[in-house]
Symmetry: C2
Subunit: 456 residues, 2 copies
């Protein structure tokens, strides 16, 4: 059977070198295995539907650690272990409520607390609203314009950006830094437009960070539909008030874990390839796409290596990171320990952009290493993976680059649907395509195989 | 604004010639317009949810003709008209039922009649089952093995083919030609495994064709899950019987229409570019992906040309074809009339693979024309459209090639999810992504613009 596949690939890939023809055959086996006996979809169903949303510190996050650890052991890698880390434990509390209170009538709108926000007073917070598009507008208004008010950050996600991640990067500052920027000028709370290109009626949560120099004021996200409504009403009724109530709070830190599994390299076991996704997720949905898919794809890589009988020359290590969403404590702990142990990491590869059809890999590494990756491009083309132009890695592996200058990559799936579901109740298992998920896992396994075989 | 876009693209696309830089700016306008003011998604919602499944000859198909014709008129092209064609009028009748009747117990399974099939007797048809994977196996069994039996065609859709359309092409013969091949050997009915890579519990309908030399026997599709069950039970109980009942029938032919809209070329109005999708659909779902998306994308092309103020040098003509699913009468009529009128068609482009993220265009044309298309490839790359390797056009435009040797293209979207929904109750509006749909429409408009500007 293998020889027949080999023959076929030999015929259709005359431009590949002999070693690339061998690699081409092996990659075909990985993809075939993923598409015929793949377990990632079933595992994702469990993680999403049986465990559900799993914010760091929650019972669900603890269950996810236990489930994935057990699952990895069944795959019989050389070792499976937990790496302890302390994580913030923020809870959303009661369902948030909000109203636009105009001079004539009031209308309920859809909001949710931003992750990390403090609560409003028990009866909620009510104030006039100042709409701004960016920090320049905010600062121009100064204390005189902001004090005592709710700042409404309403810079839209650019729908014309073909890369939705590029558009996300251009508006997420409002969510992350907006509350303290507004508090600095005396604002009493903030409301932030949801980060999505579309006009929909559900809010998108996400993390924010307080600057300790300024008061901690409540902050929430509002659905894009209601952001449009609020903006519209402000034009005719600039003195309207916005009221909202949320009971979220930060509890004491909890002990949690990264889940790690590795297959030791047969030739250079001290050269390590780290790959993974993050175990935690927002609890508004079930965290299937962010980042259940990255988790089950990483587990699948281990399974694929075993099922296809691949003994990697270098050590491959799956890391299921804890707390990417609101602290990156798992990623930081992993890098810190790797650095303390003087480990040699030749690559870190993350999957944290959803389980959509794979289209490429980003790179963040010196030019000579990037050229080596690009030399494999033709091997990926038969799988619709063509784009190696993006830069950067993922949040969980970024500490490895910072501390140890580790080369980074990220799996780049098709990005058009990601911000339909990102950080919302729509992030559910039913939105994931089995085949797309499986192709992504096989693409990761292929890249990891090539690096384990040839180094970087 | 335009000059700013121009400036930006000039900076980022130093490898494009001056005319390509102009084209790049224009394409960016088309994509921006589609992504910010696109109407295709709203139009698809109407077609899917307000009209629904629209098999040729049905009241829904007539409504779709009326709706799309009115819609096109609001866009103010130079002309909108209907092109009459007679279509078959097949109706499914009552909900189909089927059972596997073993020696110990009976179990209900999910089937649906294949489009064009005759009914079973009113009380259903019951017989022993012979499972085959292909016509060779069928023929080897001969009359002795087949007579009086139900033939179960159970060759699986290959999940390892990265192109799902390639896999579809390799198993659809069972559905189309199986019934007559089996009837030739005395079979009383056929059951065909659904055409999908996954194991699911709903059947996929689709057209079949009788050979008039043999008896017309009933034929149905069975869900892949139940196909697996039937195959499994046959191994232990080869004498089990299969029973099914369907009341479908062919009514007298109906008058129907292609809907056509064109913007006349300003320089070479007699050189025509045809593009379209098909109005009819199976009625088991609402026909959103097959081919509501092709229909609304084609309408959107007309809107985009108008909204962006593009006056095409050559004539561009949107054709919403009737009866692709079970007769291709619209496509045949269109080609026949074009031929009779000695029209010059420089290109026909179809969208009939769903409204998923566009990844490329197929071509079916002489090498010199193909090279011209390939010279535009770099213009499409910023939109994730990179694949120009596939060959072929679509069913509706194939008659243009046959009769008049017209060069063909097809929009190639990501193909991984198409056969989850194809010809099933799952083919619904909710499965379509707004952005993916809009990107596909803008990609079509861009290709049509380039051909209208430069010819082929």
């Amino acid at each position: 059977m293998i020889s027949r596949i080999f023959y076929v690939l030999f015929i259709i890939t005359p431009l590949l070198s002999f070693s690339q023809q061998k690699d081409s055959v092996l990659m075909k086996r990985l993809f075939n295995e993923a598409l015929t006996h793949g377990e990632s979809y079933t595992n994702l169903e469990y993680l999403s539907n049986k465990i559900g949303g799993r914010l760091a510190g929650s019972p669900q996050a603890a269950k996810a650690v236990e489930y994935c650890s057990k699952l990895l052991k069944t795959l019989n890698p050389d070792t499976v272990y937990l790496q302890e880390c302390m994580v913030p434990h923020w809870v959303r509390g009661e369902k948030e409520r909000a109203k636009i209170i105009g001079s004539k009538s009031a209308v309920e709108v859809k909001i949710c607390a931003l992750g990390g926000s403090v609560a409003t007073p028990p009866s909620g917070i009510k104030a006039e609203v100042v709409e701004v598009k960016n920090f320049n507008e905010l600062n121009a208004l100064g204390k005189a314009g902001i004090e005592g008010k709710i700042v409404f950050f309403n810079r839209a996600f650019d729908p014309t950006a073909i890369s939705t991640f590029e558009a996300y990067g251009k508006c997420v500052d409002q969510r992350w830094a907006g509350p303290s920027m507004a508090a600095r000028l005396g604002a009493v709370a903030t409301v932030c437009r949801s980060m999505t290109p579309d006009i929909t009626d559900y809010p998108h949560t996400g993390s924010m960070g307080y600057n300790d120099s300024f008061p901690k004021i409540p902050c929430c996200a509002i659905s894009t539909k209601d952001a449009e409504l609020l903006s519209h009403q402000l034009k005719s009724d600039p003195k309207l008030k916005f009221w909202y109530r949320q009971t979220c709070k930060l509890l004491p830190e909890e002990k949690s874990f990264n889940v790690i599994a590795e297959i030791r390299g047969s030739v250079a076991p001290n050269e390590i390839i780290t790959f993974g996704g993050h175990l935690d997720s927002w609890e508004t949905g079930d965290g299937a796409s962010d980042d259940g898919t990255g988790v089950v794809q990483s587990i699948e890589v281990i399974r694929l290596f075993r099922a296809c009988g691949i003994k990697p020359k270098r050590t491959i290590r799956a890391v299921l990171f804890m707390n990417e969403e609101n602290g990156t404590r798992g990623g930081k702990k992993y890098a810190t320990e790797a650095n303390e142990k003087h480990e040699t990491h030749i690559l870190a590869l993350e999957s944290d952009r959803g389980g959509f059809s794979p289209r490429g890999f980003s790179t963040d590494m010196p030019e000579n290493k990037k050229q080596k990756v690009l030399s494999w491009k033709s091997l990926f083309l038969p799988y619709g993976i063509y784009d190696f132009t993006e830069t950067g890695g993922g949040s969980d592996i970024e500490p490895l680059r910072k501390l140890m200058n580790v080369p980074l990559m990220e799996l780049i799936p098709d990005c058009q649907r990601y911000f339909d579901v990102h950080h919302t109740p729509q992030d559910t298992f039913s939105r994931v395509s089995k085949r797309e998920l499986e192709l992504g896992g096989a693409a990761m396994a292929s890249m990891i195989y090539l690096v384990s075989e040839y180094g970087l």
